[in-house]
């Protein structure tokens, strides 16, 4: 069943889709978005309920394979030590993300030039900076201006910083003694009432959905406004493939509703915002006579160069009761002390550290991710010494692009509508392993300087693939990139990709603030070039 044509069709109602929808709706475009999940009611989020830690491990888990909800698709992950994480709903993965909102650094855009490895981006930090300011305002960011790890800003975060807690204070004092960088973390979490949303209450359940609406999720920050301006959002809409005409332009998307009925949504321009697993999956599914290896794939790079930020956790235990089950999750503070390359360390690039809360009693009592089990009489001692007594450094290692890390379409596993599942093939690089090993030791020193009497380390956490990046990279050369510098496919003049797939390198920071800034930049370009835009006849 064909529908009324859209000026722009967006696939995916997460943060990048929301940013593009709002910008284009403001400019008067007729926008239609297809989202395979639905709307959520934050009253249903488990964070303010007694069964929070139980439900966070199943229906609210960050892994779609664990959730197995109707809106999800399975991911074949037998060939990866890191599981990709995401959420499928209006708001996308911002429903369950932590809300940490650091920017990439200037050197992140010039990795080839500075370190002789990987690639440079087709834009630099200063070109993206005005978009960071605008998306910071849209999402609502709390933070202390003036971090000397970044170039000076002409615009401050719209809200004052969130508190850093007793654990943050201990570590901040330690870094002052060590002469190491630290800074209160920038989070897309309200510290004061902002844009009709309430401030954070420090419940620390951000990764199970924010009951207060204080954390910026695109279902709150963007979609109501875009819909108010005329955008149409269709939920329960699972896109099977993009269709093309004889000229190779995308004519729209074939999709299935919740009952399995097939529809076709025609559009002049199509924008993919389905994350760096879902987007290449859809491009690979969209084969045709002129593109037998998938749409926009003349470079052969669709689905290649997957990056996920190998993640280690270093936990310090303190004698004091820190109540570290509370606080934004999000991060309390960050350190970029060892972020930039120093080749004497035996690797290039670096990692960002984020200090996070430590969870409730069920998380504390179960065998820890660092491998410790405590049963029998000492179980009680274990819980009493751990619950609220911890400070956790999460270490995000820059993941350099490698074509061997890629996704393919499974020949055996499908979703509920017989659409092939994505298959992830990923290995941690030696450079990243050496990097994490170095940073683990420095994080240990940090926590010991803060007074920790015991350190527990998880050297590579399996369920840490929050940051899905790189599977349809940007670049100026169509032979070595999928997208141009404006996120438009080199091969298909009316196809854009605005999610983390576009990343050239991963940086070592949480990527959502950069993904949405890039998406807004792409949307501005669509508006500015609308009269030159090729469209199907």
């Amino acid at each position: 069943m064909a529908r009324e044509p859209a000026d722009v069709l967006i696939v995916g109602a997460g943060p990048s889709g929301g940013v593009v929808a709002l910008r284009l709706a403001e400019a008067g475009f007729r926008v239609v978005c297809l989202e395979q999940g639905g709307w959520l009611d934050r009253a249903d989020y488990p964070g303010d309920k007694l069964d929070w830690e139980l439900k966070a491990r199943k229906d609210w888990a960050t892994s779609p394979n664990i959730r197995g909800l109707a809106a999800d698709y399975p991911i074949v992950e037998d060939d990866t030590p890191v599981s990709p994480l995401m959420y499928n709903a209006v708001g996308g993965s911002t429903i369950l993300f932590a809300g940490a909102w650091p920017r990439m650094l200037p050197s992140d855009f010039r990795v080839r030039t500075l370190d002789g490895i990987a690639d440079d981006w087709p834009l630099d930090y200063f070109e993206l900076l005005p978009y960071y300011y605008r998306t910071d305002r849209q999402f609502g960011v709390s933070g202390l201006p003036g971090d000397p790890a970044y170039p000076p800003d002409s615009e401050d975060a719209p809200m004052p910083p969130l508190p850093i807690g007793a654990a943050g204070m201990k570590v901040a004092r330690a870094h002052t003694k060590l002469g190491w960088h630290w800074w209160p973390e920038f989070n897309s979490i309200n510290s004061v009432p902002y844009d009709g949303r309430r401030p954070c209450v420090q419940r620390s359940t951000c990764q199970s959905g924010c009951n207060e609406g204080a954390k910026a999720s695109a279902d709150l920050t963007h979609w109501p406004k875009a819909i108010g301006l005329g955008a149409e959002l269709i939920t329960g809409a699972r896109v099977r493939r993009l269709e093309t005409d004889a000229k190779g332009l995308v004519t729209g998307a074939t999709w299935l509703d919740a009952d399995g009925n097939e529809h076709f949504q025609p559009a002049s321009v199509t924008v993919l915002a389905a994350n760096a697993i879902g987007t290449p999956r859809l491009l690979l599914l969209s084969t045709g006579p002129g593109h037998p290896d998938g749409l926009a794939n003349s470079s052969g790079l669709v689905g290649k160069r997957l990056m996920m930020h190998p993640f280690a956790n270093v936990a310090g235990l303190f004698e004091d009761q820190l109540m570290s089950w509370q606080g934004q999750f999000g991060d309390l503070i960050e350190s970029l002390e060892f972020y930039e390359t120093d080749e004497k360390r035996g690797f290039v690039r670096g990692a960002r550290w984020g200090l996070a809360p430590t969870g409730g009693p069920i998380n504390t009592a179960l065998p820890s991710r660092a491998g410790e089990q405590a049963w029998g009489p000492e179980h009680h001692t274990h819980v009493r010494t751990h619950l609220g007594h911890g400070a956790n450094w999460g270490l995000f290692a820059e993941d350099l692009p490698d074509e061997a890390n890629h996704i393919t379409l499974s020949s055996t596993v499908t979703d509920a509508w017989d659409i092939p599942a994505p298959e992830v093939h990923y290995a941690m690089a030696d450079n990243a392993r050496r990097m994490l090993d170095f940073h683990i030791e420095r994080a240990r020193e940090s926590l010991e300087a803060a007074g920790a009497y015991k350190i527990e380390v998880d050297r590579l956490m399996r369920y840490s693939g929050w940051h899905l990046l790189g599977t349809a990279r940007m670049g100026d050369d169509p032979a070595s990139s999928v997208l141009d510098r404006w996120n438009r496919a080199h091969d298909v003049a009316n196809l854009y990709v605005v999610d983390g797939s576009c990343f050239v390198t991963s940086s070592g920071v949480n990527p959502t603030s950069s993904i949405v800034a890039l998406a807004l930049r792409a949307a501005d370009h669509m508006v500015e070039t609308r009269f030159e835009q090729q469209v199907p006849s």
Binding site: D51, L105, P106, G146, P158, T176, P199, G360
Partner: protein, 184 residues
Amino acid sequence: MNTVADPLATLDAVERTTFSAIADHLIPAAHGMPSAAEVVDDDRLRFVVSARPDLFEPLRAALRADLGDDVEARLDRLGRDEPAVLSSLQLIIVAGYYTDRGVRERIGYPGQMAIELRSWEVPPYIDEGLIDAVLARGATWRDPATGTRAIVADAPRTYAERFAAPADAPSAGSPDAAPTEGGT
């Protein structure tokens, strides 16, 4: 997923006895705390299975008779052959125990509390001079133009200097307070 209205009613007396023995083994009474068998009664078990119906079948599997009478041997065998079943069993016992009000009171855990922020107050790290110490070290970002640590002329070296400068900042509380976005 079990669809029986009250799945616990389908556990027989032997299975319930086995459950209590395992619960006592994993979390015995000690250090002033009750055992899990004392705490995780039918109500607590029902609470857990109601929140997580997917856990009931692993629970039944963990309690089956062919695993023998020796609790430690049963847990060893589950850990070796059926780790997912063992993990589910541990989660059921731990969740039943730590969602009990009395246990929470004894460990000093009030739950995830809603705490009002006092964002108008100067943060203690500024009062202690911890931000000044970071600013005093100067810029640390790597300048792509030179490949070396950036030099920022006139960079503020204290928090007071940073905020003495006129800020081109929007007032807090609304994205509309910010400058108009570019384009149409």
